[in-house]
Amino acid sequence: MSSYPKELKYDKEHEWVRAEGDTAVIGISYFAQDQLGEVVYVDLPDEGDEVVAGETFGEIESVKSVSELYSPLTGEVVRVNEALGDTPETVNEDPYGEGWMIEVRMADPSQVDDLMTAEEYEAFVSEES
């Protein structure tokens, strides 16, 4: 698996988005989990909560620090990955699969178009590091 799957979109806060129709699954990128180190806790919103593009929707704690999770999109949370409560390390092990965080019903699916492609994100990350 490439570090940055082509079928996903990314934002500058290192979240990824897998959009399908009017919903989108959101997680954090390989780069983000690698920077954080061992993830020990993820605090996520509840189903039915609203998230707003550019605003925080939760936080993620590693052995090194605590960081905010920023929503790349605006919408309503329709699913939450409850499994991360017991196994937060999944975010490190499988950031694009089992380590997903929330699924959102988008208020405006065109917001996805403003996000970075895998190539753009990879270029962005190489500048960051």
Binding site: D43, E61, K64, S65, V66, E68
Partner: protein, 446 residues
Amino acid sequence: MRFIPVNGAQRERMLRAVGVSDAGELFDGLPAEVRLDRPLRLPPGLAEEELIAHLRELAARDLDASRVVSFLGAGCYDHYVPAIVRHVVSKPEFFTAYTPYQAEASQGTLQAVYEFQTMVAELAGMDVANASMYDGATAFAEAAYLAARATGRAKVAVSGAVHPEWVDTLRSYAGSGLLEVEIVRFDPRTGLSGADALRAAATGAAALMVASPNFFGCIEDLPAASAVAHDAGALLIAAFAPALSGVLEAPGELGADVAVAEGQPLGGPMSFGGPGLGLFACRERFLRRMPGRVVGRTVDAEGRPAFTLALQTREQHVRREKATSNICSDHSLNALAAAVHLAALGAEGLEQLGRACVGKAAYLRERLVATGRFERRFASPHGHEVALRYLGDADEMLEEMLDRGYLAGLHLRRFFPDEDGTVLLCATERRTRGEIDALAEEVASL
């Protein structure tokens, strides 16, 4: 490991390295008008012997509990502290004020705090406890912050029967704009914050905040308060009295989500009201929102048990703007004293302590009511404190009793204008039958 400050030669080297000739130059960046340009206005120094004599003379002007018979409680309690407490906390290894950030150098301190946390969690009937806070009032207000963050609500509904100074502390915290304090009236007949009054205030609240025993010594109905809080999506924050933990059910067993207490009764001197000791415990799901610091138990590289500060990512020194609280300190020495006191008592001793306190307070109430000078103020069960109405001028009575060597309680009018004549008295295990009988006889003779 040794903690030795720099010597003169090292200081000189450091000053040279940064390019200044003396430490004063480091302050050149400050405007002249805020810099002190004269010595501090202090009297000349004293020889050690003179100083001791001077302090003795000052101390002799105080009237402490060793020189009067104290029936004062109201937040600070006259309990017997076993001699072993002073012995242990006086050990230099503990007495040195050093924050145990370096686990490899602080195993003893860390383990002591860990044991303390375990005991507090047990007393509170909770999953986790922190390493202590400044005092009960601070713990109480910090609990309100926790509830506000956990629920996303700002309003906290506080029983009007909580210690007024704790409520003041809470109001100070509310000055941050993060909390909104609503006082729930207590029932003047029972001295309790009834479920109906709490229910009305619980809507949209982050927490209901009660104390049991409350400021009047009355035992609140925590299970009812818990049901009311949880129905409204609020947390129940309950303050408890650790000296009565051996005879009263723990707040965690009765449905509280956060339990706090003033820990001074455990190993702490009254010391004119401070320093106190804040006990703070909660359910595990709030662990990451808990203020202060927490010591955890782990294993070292060789698999041996080891203790270390845990969850420091929540602490102010790591990320100031996101910290759960602006407190990243504790009252370690008081906490150690509490742990030693509890260890010395044991479960059986703690139960005996509670029984003695409650039994003596009941005897005190009966004796005073029997004089015909007092009436019971609230029709509710009480712990080691009881509010009685004095049938006469309460201030005059207290003044006269002080002349006769008794601190006969607190006139509640000081905090509650409607409570003219109501006196709050406390009997700890230290008060003897003889002292209580003598107090009743003195009052009767007024």
